[in-house]
Amino acid sequence: MISLTSPVRTRAHDWPAGAKLAGLCLGTMVLFLMSDARLHLAALVAVLGLYALPGAVFLRDGLRKLWMLWPFVLVVALFHLVDGSVLAGAVIIMRLITAVALANLVTMTTRLTDMIAVVHWLGAPLRRMGLRTRPLEVAMALVIRMTPVLLDKGTALTQSWRARSPRRPNWRIVLPFTLLALDDADHISDALRARGGLVTPED
């Protein structure tokens, strides 16, 4: 499956994922504690500068991911224009864009495998307490594998609907779709059990 990691390789791709995540937590906290508009403007410009560093492709990709915020920006801008508290509105909008941009930046520069390694590392205290984290890791892999499979089945169902009916497929298709998925789940769990199950004695 395609993850949101940017294909444009940056130096940040090689930084440890845990450090990037910790930095992101810290940075986001600082953003929410700051209230000075000048500091927020500086932070916004700095983060957009980081997007520009790896080149135009990376910048365009990053800005496109931020575009989804426009309804919120519009609503807040209108509210504060009517209200008269323009500066307060500007702070909220800048903080919103900077926070999302910073978080997206970490996602864009961290490979899925590195993220999964962090999840595994975070599970270490649980394992020491005697909890098994293997079912979680198998479940993550299963979702990643089953999503495209389910999507294919859904597409096939839609096509057979179109072949038989002059009307467009509607929500009724969700029932046969869910039935297919449930039957798949039975087969997968049988297969997992036949291969020794999720929890082996040495775990």
Binding site: M1, I2, S3, L4, T5, L24, T28, K65, M68, L69, F72, V75, V76, F79, A88, I92, L96, A99, V100, A101, L102, A103, N104, V106, T107, M108, T110, L112, M115, I116, V118, V119, P135, L136, V138, A139, M140, L142, V143, I144, M146, T147, L150, G154, W171, V174, L175, T178, L179, A181, L182, D183, A185, D186, I188, S189, L192, G197, L198, V199
Partner: protein, 182 residues
């Protein structure tokens, strides 16, 4: 054990696939996506605990960078956007929905699952969503609520569909509707 894990993973994948269904635009111009239908189904079919776990698993995969939210969104940015409250509310919504379906056995399943989806998937979920939006945009709760009311008719429709689907699934695959299996 294996079956529970697979069912949880399956419903997480189902939420993802429902997010890929193109948006339907209601009569008055509000787009609705099928993704929260998946959250409701997690509760009505899997029950409280497994339903909540399926939502948590889905959110974990979104957080580590998979574009599973509707419109191909995902990554850590989704958790600092103004709609973060809705995401945080998903596991709770699925839990409440599932809890009601598990406990309330005296009425037809269509009605129970439908109403449970309204309470979990709308009342509880919008509670979280509105608080999140009010905090992120520094607006009062009433102002934040006004921003999201347009989406409620679509969600009522989804709750009705969730109710009918759950009843139909219980007829076709009674053993798979885990909320009623025990």
């Amino acid at each position: 054990m294996e079956r529970n894990v697979v069912m949880i993973a399956l419903f997480a994948a189902l939420i993802a696939v429902l997010g890929l269904i193109p948006k339907i635009t209601l009569g008055f111009g509000v787009p609705i996506t099928a993704q929260t239908l998946g959250v409701m189904l997690c509760g009505t079919v899997l029950g409280a605990r497994r339903g909540a776990l399926a939502c948590l698993l889905f959110l974990l995969l979104v957080a580590i960078g998979l574009p599973l939210l509707s419109g191909g969104r995902g990554g850590l940015g989704a958790f600092v956007s103004p709609s973060v409250g809705f995401l945080v509310g998903w596991p709770v919504a699925a839990f409440v929905t599932g809890w009601i379906v598990e406990r309330w056995r005296g009425a037809p399943l269509t009605l129970v699952a439908g109403l449970a989806s309204v309470i979990g998937g709308i009342v509880v979920l919008y509670g979280f969503g509105v608080v999140g939006m009010a905090l992120m945009l520094e607006k009062s709760l009433v102002e934040a609520a006004a921003l999201v009311t347009a989406f409620i008719p679509g969600d009522v429709l989804k709750a009705a569909i969730a109710g009918m689907l759950t009843a139909a699934l219980a007829k076709a695959r009674p053993a798979s509707v885990l909320s009623r299996a025990a």
